[in-house]
């Protein structure tokens, strides 16, 4: 019985993805089922479609920048939260994780209005900032857990051996939570 439910749900999970991938190989300009012949025609067309390349490059740039900045800020914040006695640590952590609760459309509208208002509309900066907010919950959760797992004693040992804080961070702490 459990097998049937599992199989049914699995189909539901994978169907659209499989179909889209499958369909992308059709040589025809319209959709006809079943697909009997395969072609890379549309891949070629997509690659030579200027809007696609631009859009793709923009998305990649955006993702890379947002990820880099968000992870850096989140790492510093997670480090601060994990190592220093700050009042309201739990509250701060909850605050950084809260974007998960805000519906995408709500934040989207808010960000749009805001960006419009301060004149950053259609500029990369606005997009990056907004994406950073979205990414932060995931980054801070993962990094905070990982940093909590790196024993503080290692850092003290490194500093006792003479490493200035920045060096200690880059040489010891960061590599130890590199996976996170």
């Amino acid at each position: 019985m459990t097998r049937i439910v599992t199989a049914a749900m699995l189909t539901l999970m994978l169907a659209p993805i499989v179909l889209v991938v499958w369909m992308s190989f059709t040589p025809l300009a319209y959709f006809v089922l079943p697909i009997t012949s395969f072609s890379l025609r549309w891949y070629r067309e997509a690659l030579s479609y200027p809007g696609f390349i631009d859009g793709f490059m923009l998305s990649t740039e955006l993702a890379a920048m947002a990820a880099l900045l968000a992870v850096t800020c989140a790492f510093l914040a997670a480090y601060g939260l994990a190592r220093y006695p700050l009042p309201g640590k739990a509250a701060l952590l909850a605050f950084f994780t809260s974007p998960l609760l805000v519906p995408a459309v709500v934040f989207g509208i808010a960000a749009l209005q805001f960006v419009n208002h301060i004149g950053l509309y259609n500029r990369l900066v606005g997009l990056v900032l907004a994406h950073m907010v979205v990414v932060t919950p995931y980054a801070i959760r993962t990094l905070h857990t990982a940093l909590a797992a790196v024993p503080e004693e290692m850092e003290w040992a490194a500093m006792a051996l003479g490493a200035p804080r920045l060096r200690m961070l880059t040489h010891i702490t960061v590599p130890l939570c590199a996976a996170a």
């Binding site: 019985m1 459990t2 097998r3 439910v5 599992t6 049914a8 749900m9 699995l10 539901l12 999970m13 994978l14 169907a15 659209p16 993805i17 499989v18 179909l19 889209v20 369909m23 959709f31 089922l33 850096t72 800020c73 989140a74 510093l76 914040a77 480090y79 601060g80 939260l81 190592r83 220093y84 006695p85 700050l86 701060l92 605050f95 950084f96 974007p99 609760l101 805000v102 519906p103 995408a104 459309v105 709500v106 934040f107 509208i109 808010a110 960000a111 749009l112 209005q113 805001f114 960006v115 208002h117 900032l129 907004a130 950073m132 907010v133 932060t136 801070i140």
Partner: protein, 283 residues
């Protein structure tokens, strides 16, 4: 001496947190705050009238038209969550019995819809569910139906498309909770005379209740706030709250009203989280 050192340590700690804090305040809190403010100003053809305040935008939300959108969104969300909740237990139980060879792949399969962009998935569903799509073609070829079924541009299509995307939020916590149950408990109950379904009712269910509730609340919220699937598969006649907000903001350009909808949705979401936390207490 000691006070100064503690203070400077404090300061350094704050320094670490500061960059992220500033970014979040600027790009997250401030926009949301602005949205709330916008919701309280009246709208004019020239733009937002920031000189005046009004509650009219929120009052507008009790219009039957908007209420209909809300009930529709609630209805869809409840159905999707119900399906998720009912399917989660059998699948989670099956997962715990799976060998390590299969398990990671099956989990990946259930997580994949979340990793794939929802527009791509919705597009895939439209290929499957449209009048001449794969499902209808197959059903007709097998002579189960002779007319195409309306599986798209209505609530059914939206429900079908939403189920996979948000399922893992119920499945994974539930699976974790079931896996954490000491297997001896099931055997102990068995020796005391409990049949399989009794073990489920008296041992598994109470012990996994918090995980189930938490997962369902998250799932429900995601259903309520979903945008791409209802937009693509629902069509013009199946408006949900998030699509309505989009239309009001960007098509009608009524920012105050759009903001009011957004604020109302956010308040509703937060209230649900609170309720969920209360309900998730161990039975």
């Amino acid at each position: 001496m000691i006070r100064t050192r503690a203070f400077s340590t404090h300061l350094r700690g704050v320094g670490f947190v500061l960059p992220l804090l500033l970014v979040m305040l600027a790009a997250y809190v401030w926009p949301l705050w602005q949205t709330l403010l916008n919701a309280l100003h009246p709208n004019t053809p020239q733009g937002i009238d920031t000189a005046h305040w009004t509650a009219a935008n929120f009052a507008h939300l009790s219009d039957p038209l908007y209420l209909q959108v809300l009930t529709r969104t609630l209805r869809i969300s409840v159905i999707v969550s119900a399906i998720a909740g009912l399917a989660a237990y059998p699948i989670a139980l099956r997962l715990t019995r799976m060998t390590p060879r299969w398990q990671p792949w099956v989990i990946l399969a259930f997580v994949s819809p979340f990793l794939i962009n929802t527009v791509v998935k919705s597009f895939g569903w439209s290929l499957l569910l449209r009048a001449n799509g794969l499902v209808n073609t197959a059903l007709q070829a097998l002579h189960i139906t002779d007319m195409p079924l309306r599986l798209m541009l209505n609530e059914t299509g939206v429900i079908i498309a939403l189920v996979p995307g948000h399922f893992m939020f119920v499945l994974l916590p539930l699976w974790g909770a079931i896996a954490a149950i000491d297997p001896n408990l099931g055997w102990a109950a068995g020796t005391l005379g409990a049949r399989r379904w009794q073990v489920f009712r008296h041992v598994v269910l109470p012990l996994t209740w918090p995980a189930l509730v938490t997962g369902l609340v998250i799932n429900f919220i995601m259903n309520m706030t979903a945008f791409a699937a209802p937009a693509i598969l629902g069509g013009a006649r199946t408006l949900v709250v998030s699509v309505l907000a989009y239309q009001v903001n960007l098509e009608q350009l009524n920012w105050p009203l759009g903001s009011a909808i957004a604020v109302a949705l956010l308040a509703f979401t937060l209230a649900l989280v609170g309720v969920g936390q209360r309900l998730a207490v161990r039975r």
